[in-house]
């Protein structure tokens, strides 16, 4: 098992190097001049020369890439052209927001999508099945930005002043400032502590700041639902078809012939097998979530990785684009590594010696 883990881990290294090269190249392919994007259209050539010299933008491209690799290896992702702060600092502040959003969306997608798929697959070709699958197809086809706007309209405008109203933007109500847990507990402050404390839900939960917790929770609902819709629909469809395949197999007949209840036949014998392709799909939908986070965070005005990346692209903030894309890509690789591990747990046939 440990060897499998190690092998799988090593095999993801070339992927990560590929990502680095691609990210580096892409950032330089965004049209436009980073100097003028950072300093404004009116910056003179002299100022821009100085700027380019200072940030190494005049060096040959392979030298730039070499410097970049060395910096990444030492945990230095450079300094944002626009904000003038290290990219790692931006990540510390903004990654937790996205991680909370993605986790919430993934939870919704899995815990709603899988049961819907089971019901639909078990009662296939019934009205329930047709209704669920029509819903799922609409869900897949729905653009995230449109759904986000509609959710905002319904819950923040149409239902305003009713108990069902939900906040349409931001992370917390105005004026609420969470106290970081390390201050409450008298722990030393450092980058990692700050990173942890930016998980607002967790931070407020462990320090019993209930007002902040409920505000953060309510603010998370609409963006999480918007972000979850497409993966949810995909997971539901996948679960349905995988379950349908499995229910026709011989070992399901054996389980019934043993005298098992129908519920155990489906939820124990069939589902465990049907989950194999679904787990793969869940890993892949994580990529969708990250892509969707860019739109969702922009619409719901959440200062997360997606919105930062969006702003960085429009203002040609190379280092931020590179750094954030890298983190996003690596997290995708990691999630799929996790999926592989889950796979070996679920399916003994994968546990090759």
């Amino acid at each position: 098992m440990a060897r499998f883990l190690l092998r799988r881990f090593i095999s993801s290294i070339p992927v990560i190097i590929g990502i680095l090269a691609l990210v580096f190249a892409l950032a330089r392919m965004i049209p436009g001049d980073p100097c003028r994007a950072a300093l404004g259209e009116r910056a003179t050539d002299e100022i821009c020369d100085a700027y380019n010299e200072r940030y190494g933008l005049n060096d040959p491209i392979h030298v730039q890439f070499g410097i970049y690799l060395k910096d990444v290896a030492t945990g230095d992702l450079g300094e944002s052209f626009r904000f003038g702060v290290p990219v790692t600092e931006l990540l510390i502040q903004r990654l937790p927001t996205t991680m909370e959003l993605a986790a919430a969306a993934l939870l919704i997608a899995v815990f709603v999508g899988v049961p819907l798929g089971i019901i639909s697959g078990y009662r296939h070709n019934t009205k329930t099945d047709v209704a669920t699958m029509v819903g799922a197809n609409i869900g897949v086809a729905m653009p995230v930005f449109w759904l986000g706007l509609m959710l905002q309209y319904v819950f923040a405008v149409f239902l305003r002043d009713t108990p069902l109203a939900l906040p349409p933007s931001g992370k917390l109500d105005a004026g609420l400032i969470p106290v970081p847990f390390y201050e409450v507990w008298g722990l030393p402050e450092n980058g990692f502590m700050e990173f942890l404390s930016e998980f607002t839900l967790m931070n407020s939960l462990v320090t019993f700041q209930w007002e902040i917790f409920s505000s953060a929770f309510l603010h998370l609902i609409l963006p999480a639902v918007a972000l979850a819709t497409i993966p949810l629909a995909i997971i539901a469809r996948m679960t349905r078809s995988a379950l349908l395949d499995v229910l026709g197999l011989d070992y399901v007949r054996t389980a019934r012939a043993k005298g098992l209840r129908e519920r155990s036949v489906v939820l124990k014998h069939a589902l465990r097998n049907a989950m194999l392709p679904v787990v793969t799909i869940i890993g892949l939908s994580f990529g969708l979530l990250l892509g969707g986070a860019i739109l969702t965070e922009t619409i719901f005005n959440l200062a997360g990785v997606g919105k930062t990346l969006f702003d960085a692209i429009t203002s040609r903030d190379y280092t931020v684009v590179q750094g954030f894309t890298l983190v996003v890509a690596i997290s995708f690789v990691m999630v799929n590594l996790l999926v592989d591990l889950l796979y070996t747990y679920l399916d003994p046939r994968v546990r090759v010696s």
Partner: protein
């Protein structure tokens, strides 16, 4: 209908009809089947693929899935009609008093659970045992069915077992709760010939040692000749002939049975041609009006019978222990 049974009948199927309601029409997979199995008896149920053998056995356990349905008849187990039982009562019979093994042993075991846990599950459901106790009993059961090194095998997953081993595991699972009736649906078809012989021996031992009644469903007359006390031949959803094994092979009556026996290649017997039965199994949606075998029957033409295409023959006794569904053996047939 009179039959020879080793003990009192434990299973009596009469006029069983199981139909499948498909888009193309009603498939009458089982259409008026009568069968009796005595205590400790091994009954062979023979026929070509698609003649309704498996559907008959699945009907006994009431495991017919949509769009199939048992539409008529009765299945009496110790005199009690299984078709009258609730689903819950039926569950307590499945795997406990009547159990089943299948054709593809490896595919019939769940790939993600160990052999031991799948056997243990039977004890957990039917005897309320804990997992640990169930596992201990599973080891005993594996030893009983001749699996060496049972303590280690119990932790094996199905893909780590050979076909023969997997079938032994299936048999251990089927016998775990000490059933009175074992239905073996093509138990040896997917196995090598040497392994086939072992599994047949094992089933014979089970009957002799435990007194379990067994229905062996197969298309292989060789297996039936070796193991069965009595044989029922099935064709297009109905029983066409039934006799004790010796009689059936020595003196087959029905032209279909004769054809089946004639088409077995024998080792050491050099023949230019094997006998074949002309034509194909009829479409079960659109069955011929009279005798279902009539369109393929040469004996009918030789005897000059015409009623075969118009009337359905009944199963009638040639003597007390031999019944056949054919006008050739009925007086006054035209």
């Amino acid at each position: 209908m009179t039959t020879t049974t080793v003990g009192d009948p434990i299973l009596q199927i009469s006029s069983l009809e199981t139909h499948f309601f498909t888009r193309d029409g009603v498939v009458k997979a089982v259409d008026g089947v009568d069968l009796t199995v005595g205590k400790g008896e091994i009954l062979g149920l023979v026929g070509e693929s698609g003649c309704g053998k498996s559907v008959t056995s699945m009907s006994v356990l009431r495991l017919i899935q949509n769009p199939g349905e048992i539409v008529g008849g009765s299945i009496r187990f110790h005199g009690e009609d299984l078709l009258d039982l609730s689903e819950k009562e039926m569950r307590s019979i499945r795997g406990d008093r009547i159990s089943m093994i299948f054709q593809q042993p490896v595919g019939s075991l769940n790939p993600v659970f160990t052999a031991g846990s799948q056997i243990s599950e039977v004890y957990e459901i039917h005897e309320g045992l804990k997992k640990k106790e169930g596992n201990a009993r599973a080891v005993e059961m594996l030893q009983k069915v001749g699996i060496p090194d049972a303590e280690r095998r119990i932790k094996a997953y199905p893909h780590e077992l050979s076909g023969g081993m997997a079938q032994r595991v299936m048999i251990a699972m089927a016998l775990a709760a000490g059933p009175e009736l074992l239905i073996a649906d093509e138990p040896t078809t997917a196995l090598d010939v040497t392994i086939q012989a072992q599994i047949i021996d094992l089933m014979r031992e089970i009957r002799n040692d435990l007194g379990t009644s067994i229905i062996v469903i197969t298309h292989d007359l060789g297996i039936v000749a070796e193991i069965a006390d009595r044989v029922a031949v099935m064709y297009a959803g109905e029983i066409v002939e039934e006799a004790d094994t010796k009689t059936l092979f020595a003196d087959p009556k029905h032209p279909y049975t004769k054809g089946l026996i004639g088409s077995i290649p024998l080792a050491g017997d050099r023949r230019e041609w094997l006998d074949v039965i002309p034509g194909r199994v009829p479409n079960l949606i659109d069955l011929p009006g009279g005798c279902r075998f009539a369109p393929r029957c040469r004996a009918r033409e030789e005897a000059g019978l015409t009623m075969c295409t118009e009337q359905r023959p009944e199963l009638t006794g040639v003597n007390d222990e031999h019944t056949v569904r054919c006008f050739l053996y009925q007086e006054g047939a035209k």
